[in-house]
Symmetry: C2
Subunit: 419 residues, 2 copies
């Protein structure tokens, strides 16, 4: 290009800001029409999508990309089906924009309430999964936001082909092309520019490895919705149904090792540890899960000694740390101290213990008698998620349409004056 | 002190974090008892408060503090009454903590909802008004947060005396002393430390001049709730009741020049400008308000020519810029471009025009037929405000108890598993 990356990104940013005003006032029907038309365009473009993806895969193989990355990069027919289905699901979700709540009269005679409105322009920075392009674009569009998408350079041809389908959807609904823009350059300076334009971008959502997210959070001059770690706990209380606890803990760890909601540490009340741990350990061992335990754990079952570091490690693998605790207080203390404020669950039949755990554990999701691996936008009914936030301000937990909006005050009077 | 400022602030931070766990689970009755007891302690300590304040005032006079600053610093009997009344009002507000909304069943059988919880530890950095100590401490306590308060060094004796009363309240309710801590050193390094401890402080609220807020926003490593400018507009629509419009615009400008909700720019539809502006201008002129107008304005009334800079200036003074616009679209465009996303009002009797203005103006408060100077926590029924946020993420507009909390997901099951 003859244009500098900074000029190019400024141009995208300015266009996104302008388009955001139009998308913000688009009707629900218009936004849904764009989503449905984009789904139809994807369905009609299967061969183009596969050809574009094959270009990326070939380049990836030539560049020695790891098999796991190639696997993520692949746009299989099933993944294309998933993207189409995802668009239709987002179209079917209720539109959060414009909802007004809590309108009430004040003594002065003015009426006050809150209206839900889009955030404006959302920048998404992600790694090689091309289906994120559809997830992010559809959620942002439905919530009335403009988006700038910056995917991994390995997926550039796939992302362009997907973007072309989204463009057909926008055109069909009479929405501006700049409502969804894919960054066309693979120059890394584009990321630096995207996270430094508060005048054009309202929030950045990074999706990918911890390194990417840390770097972006550190350098961004725009608010970031993010999560770094998922160090999730299941606490088996003295009043737990132990059969239920065993099933929940097994599912929490083994549903999938690599998801952020996977249990990394199992806490067990000392009162039931001797009854609970041997059978539990046998089930994990049969599945090939390595166990690392505190001293009291190792007095009951065979386990590698857990180090201080284990308690704050996200394994994302077939490894589990286990600690026997004195009771609820120590469990809560452990979770709030070593956890990552992501998702934590108590197994108990005791109402008072459950109530305290749910109130006092400082995590984005707190659970009772259910495995931590349920922490997911689809499972929560959000339709999809743009990410999971472990920050406390603004969105917390899986972020769907509501997390991409905010509320402003609406004040209605009829000539009332102050003072 | 022999202790370094950094060590001192770390000690406060650690104590605040510990205390925050206790305050977060304190009952409503216990928090209200602390607030009522602090009010009683203030009432009983009037002479100590006046003596401490006299020390600050004497030092201020000796250091040549400006009269306006001395005025803000003064703890008059009326201001002490105001602080006592403020504590009682906050005690009377509903407790937001623990409220659960939208619990619903998912197809998997788990039940999902959201629980409102405190943010944790809130750092408040403010200038010389000692009554902020009470406003901030009471709102933070009621919303279940621990607070670290860093007031202006000119008010240190007053703030210590107020803090002693708060401590009596906390002790009376059996709450930890570290739930509300006043930074005892006037060393400026304390501010730098306070805004750089994400492990101990969850959010910073700066209150004061624009310089302070800009500096803190730039340097903070912790989220900041803030507002910089209040460039507020009143737009007089073609369908306005012009008599009502004149009263609203006059009140918006002249209720108080120095508040952030004061109107700085008046926009008038060209269709009614000739009918509206002459009488309006005469009223402003009689009050001594300097008028700065666009060309079309100056064709109708006497006014200084407005420069491009005027449209983005927060005067906080008896100066008003006036622009005649082509209609609603240009008014919205002007406000979104030149405004500060604070508070903007339309005067119209036309439902469709009102609906568009309220939806499309991108400000923390949008108003209909009422003056912008209503933008205030008390007027909005929040009891008090810790500040006004013009950011879009998290709190937007006047920030009361709800803005000092967040929501986490609560997931309840009975042994449901995933997959």
């Amino acid at each position: 290009m003859t244009e500098s990356v900074l000029d190019y990104m400024t141009r995208l940013g300015r266009a996104a800001r302008e388009a955001s005003r139009v998308v913000a006032r688009a009707s629900t029907a218009q936004k849904n029409r764009a989503l449905q038309a984009a789904a139809a365009a994807l369905d009609a473009a299967r061969s183009e999508l596969s050809a574009a993806n094959e270009q990326d895969l070939a380049a990836g193989r030539a560049n020695g990309l790891e098999p796991a990355l190639l696997e993520r990069l692949a746009l299989t027919p099933a993944r294309i089906d998933g993207m189409i289905e995802g668009l239709r699901q987002v179209a079917a979700l209720p539109d959060p924009v414009g909802a007004i709540r809590d309108m009430s009269y004040r003594p002065s005679g003015i009426q006050i309430g809150k209206m839900r409105v889009p955030l404006g322009v959302i920048g998404i920075i992600y790694e090689s999964r091309p289906n994120v392009t559809i997830d992010a674009a559809s959620l942002c569009l439905k919530s009335g936001n403009a988006t700038i998408l910056r995917g991994g350079s390995e997926a550039i041809h796939s992302n362009r082909a997907i973007a072309a389908c989204i463009q057909r959807g926008l055109a069909d609904a009479g929405l501006p092309a700049a409502a969804v823009q894919v960054v066309e350059t693979t120059d890394r300076a584009a990321v630096g520019a995207l996270i430094s334009m508060p005048e054009f971008v309202d929030v950045i959502v990074p999706r990918g490895g911890k390194g990417l997210i840390e770097r972006i959070s550190r350098d961004a001059r725009v608010p970031v919705i993010k999560h770094l770690d998922g160090i999730c706990h299941v606490y088996v209380d003295a009043q737990a149904d132990l059969a239920k606890a065993q099933k929940i803990a097994f599912n929490a760890k083994c549903y999938r090792y690599g998801i952020c909601g996977a249990m990394e540490t199992l806490l067990v009340d000392q009162a039931v540890a001797a009854d609970f741990l041997p059978a539990m350990a046998a089930e994990f061992r049969a599945k090939g899960v390595e166990l690392r335990g505190c001293e009291r754990t190792r007095a009951l079952i065979e386990a590698v000694p857990a180090t201080e570091e284990d308690w704050s490690t996200e394994y994302l693998a077939a490894i589990l740390s286990i600690r026997v605790v004195d009771g609820l207080d120590q469990a809560i203390e452990h979770i709030n101290h070593y956890g990552s404020h992501h998702t934590d669950s108590i197994v108990t039949e005791h109402q008072g213990q459950a109530r305290r755990f749910l109130a006092e554990v400082d995590s984005s999701s707190v659970m009772l008698n259910t495995p931590t691996c349920f922490a997911d936008g689809f499972e929560y009914g959000l339709g999809a998620e743009i990410g999971i936030s472990t920050d406390k301000l603004h969105a917390r937990g899986p972020v769907g349409l509501e997390g991409l909006t905010c509320e402003k005050y609406v004040v209605i009077g009829d000539g009332q004056l102050r003072g």
